[in-house]
Each structure stands twice: as structure tokens, then as C-alpha cells.
Symmetry: D2
Subunit: 140 residues, 4 copies
């Protein structure tokens, strides 16, 4: 299988379609069925004690499977998340950005499934894992 | 089982501990093992097409189980989410606020488990369901 | 919405299509979007210490959402489970049968989503919760 | 981190503690934080159409994370599953055994989290993914 979108394509798509969060996420690497994405953590993502909030980690997992899927099928803005599971396993490092590593496990005509590990930059122990299912809109 | 925190206690706790999101959520009703919480939806919660973003629904589910648990055990700010599952079942109504209905299914010494249905205000079909597990910090 | 299958229809379908497990499960009650199902627990379902095994509870949740869905759409043997989440919250009572209470939360053309609470008979505290998604085969 | 149990230890533990299912599962390989386990598929694991049943795949995922955890902490028969999520992504090959590949992602004092990919032997596309959380009993 080949990539339908390059690294630059994915970052440009993010800027164009999701301007309200585009500066929070950056695609660092993409290859067939894999992507590496960074979340830039600022004050608004933190909870008391300096830890990164759960919704911030959810948002990173969600955008990661979305972009790794689009990398394979092209820019279909209307794909929607239908299911998510997450385990929050360790406290993220205060002040560190997050990095996600995503694998697409299934790329069907109707559903795509990916799993994600999230790391604090500078630590190789995952802070969270997630699996996300996306529903792919039918061709017109 | 009795409530350890009233409706006013919960809203005051939210304002004091989570000032960055306190104006987004409001506890509408609380009873033993149940809570009803509203999410005030604004432009920053929307995605292309006017739909409410996934992270917004995750945040509502997360705060809902947290507050319904604290209502029973008192204000322990350090409880942390350890697991989440969600199904996104329908497109939320554009421009409508969200309402969550939460049941606490288990309230143990170490773990609390709750499930949540999320509705668009004015519609009785759930837009999402979630289950969240919270780890409760040990007494000092 | 109306039922497409009665209580007797569902039990007869279970006997005909799943003879290897039909004597383990019995539909006790069905109404639109709801079902109550009993699992008859025997030695083969137990683990060391007398507790009911996880796979037995999974099987009950799985068949419960399946039958509650078929009750609404009619006997389509080819519906398949695509996703499951479960929390195992309490140790089931040794030697007691299990009872599931299922709600169908979404009944779409392609996907059905249901949630399930599982109880030991004689206790009103849930031992497990589950959510299951079924993919519904297209009409021919 | 080092292994607390060898491949032979794990298979002997399975035979001794779970005689009712021991002939269904075989640990093929173990290394720190990883295990490979085979499920021997027979008629009783099949559903109409020849596909492997959901509860069989759940049982394989469950035993896989359990044994991969025990390989690190030693034979604690009382560890219990507290949470599971699974995606069923492809129809298993009729008549083929299953193989699981398990990673332990967190090994805490209280909770262990592992993720699992399940394959039909002879095919490198996963048929299912799972994440399981085990509660580890306190030291006496």
C-alpha cells in the first residue's frame, strides 16, 4: 500500500481544515499505515499539579488515527470517530510535549481502526494507549 | 448511601479547582450515585459542519464521572482517570448545548466506575455513551 | 418502534442457530430496545475460587446485545460484533446464575450499539458492564 | 526487567491452575514484557459459517495478558481482569488456529495493562486487537 498524502500534505490539511487546533499538533513522520504526531503542550492543556489533561490526550489520539487514515485514503474531511478506548497509565511529565505513535490495524471500505501509544517527549514509557475507530464516508 | 457534596458544593469545587473550564460545565442535578451536568457549547467546541468535537464530549464524560464520584466521597482533587471507552452514535445538534446523565456503578476504595449518556439538549436520543474508571487516592 | 421477534421467537432462534450454547442462555423478557437474559452457570463456567470466568460474562454480554438487536430487526444470523468494552466490577456470587439487562442505544442501518449490566441473581449490584457494537449486514 | 517465569513455568502453571482450558492454549514464546500464545481451535469454538466465536478470542486475549503479566511478577493466581476493550476487525480463517502477540505496557504495583493482537495462523493481518487491565493482589 502506498501513501495518498505526504507529510507536507497532512500538515497543510490540518492547517486548512482545523485552524482552531492546527498550531497544537504537528505531523512529524508518516509512512504507510503509521504516523508520528507531536502535541505542543501549553498552559491550557494542564490540570492542577502540572499534568496534561485527559481531553488533551484524547484529542491527540483522535487526530492521530484520523491523519494516519487520511494518509492512506486521501483528504476526506468527513470521516468521523465512532468508538474510542483509552488507558491512562502514567502521569505525563510536567512541561513536556507529547508524541503519539499510531498504527492503522484495519483499513476497510467502511471502517478504519488504529491504535496509538502516547509518550512524554524524552521518556520511552507510554503515558497512555488508545484505539479509535473511524467511519469512512461512502464515495459519491 | 448519602451525598458528601451538594449541588452548590460541586459547582463551587469546579470553579475553584478547574477555573480554565469551569464556565463550560454546570452541575444541574445530583443525587446519590447520579449526576446531570450541562456543557455550554461555543465556537471553540465545534468542528467543520457545526458538529461538537469529540474532545468536547470526552471532556464532558470525564468531568461528569469525576463530579458524580466526588459527590459521594468528598472533594479529593487527586482522583485520576485510568480508563475510558466511548461510542459516538449520532451527530450532535448544531448549536445545542450537551447534557450528560451519569450513574456510578461501582464505588470501591481504590476504583470508581461510572457510565454516562450524552444528549443534545432538546433531543432524547443519546449522541454518545461512555464508561470511565477513576483511581481514588489512598487516605493519608 | 415495534418488536420484530417475540420472546418465543428469540429463544427458538437461539436453539436453532446456536445449538452449542443454547442451553446456557435463556431470554427472560423482551420489549422494544430492551432485553433480559439469563446465563445458566455450571462447573465449566467457573474459575479457581468459584468465580464465574471472564469469557462467560463476555459471552453473555455478546449474546444479549445480539438478541436485543435481532428483536428489533428480525433474525439476521450474520450480524457480527465489531467492538466491545467491559468493566468487571465485582466478584460474581459463587454458584449463582447471571442476569443481563440490555438497552439498545443506537439502531442504525449499518451499526447497532447496546449497553449491558450483568448481575448475579439475587443481588442488585452489577458485577460487570459492557458496551457492544454490531455490524448489520446489508439487505440483499 | 527480568522474567520471573520461564516458558515451561508458564505452561505448567496453566496446566495446574486452569485444567479445564489448559489444552486449548499454549505459550509459544516469552520475553520480558512480551508473550506469544497459541489457541488450538476446535469445533466448540466455531460459529455458523465456520468463524471463530467472539468469546474464544476474548478468552485468548484474557489469558495472554494474564500470562505475560505473571511472567514478570511470578505465579499469582488471584490477579483479576478489571477492564477489557476489543475490536474485531476481520473474519478469522476457518479451521486455522489463532496466535496472540502481547505487550505489557504498564506493570504497576496495583494494575497491569497489556495490549494484544490476534492473528489467524498463516496470515499477518490482525483479526482482532484487545487491551486488558489486571488488578494485582497486594502482597501478604
Amino acid at each position: 500500500m502506498q501513501l495518498a498524502m505526504t507529510l507536507d500534505d497532512l500538515n497543510a490539511f490540518l492547517d486548512a481544515q482545523f485552524p482552531q487546533v492546527a498550531n497544537e499538533f504537528e505531523v512529524m513522520d508518516v509512512s504507510p499505515m503509521h504516523a508520528t504526531i507531536r502535541a505542543n503542550i501549553g498552559d491550557k492543556h494542564l490540570r492542577p499539579g502540572g499534568t496534561v489533561s485527559g481531553p488533551t490526550m484524547f484529542a491527540l489520539a483522535d487526530v492521530s488515527v484520523y491523519l494516519a487514515t487520511l494518509a492512506m485514503i486521501g483528504p476526506k474531511a468527513l470521516a468521523v470517530t465512532t468508538n474510542c478506548s483509552m488507558d491512562f497509565m502514567r502521569k505525563p511529565i510536567a512541561g513536556a510535549n507529547l508524541r503519539s505513535e499510531t498504527r492503522i490495524l484495519k483499513l476497510g471500505k467502511v471502517l478504519a481502526v488504529g491504535d496509538v501509544l502516547i509518550f512524554s517527549e524524552g521518556d520511552d514509557r507510554p503515558v497512555a494507549r488508545a484505539a479509535m475507530t473511524y467511519s469512512i464516508p461512502p464515495e459519491r
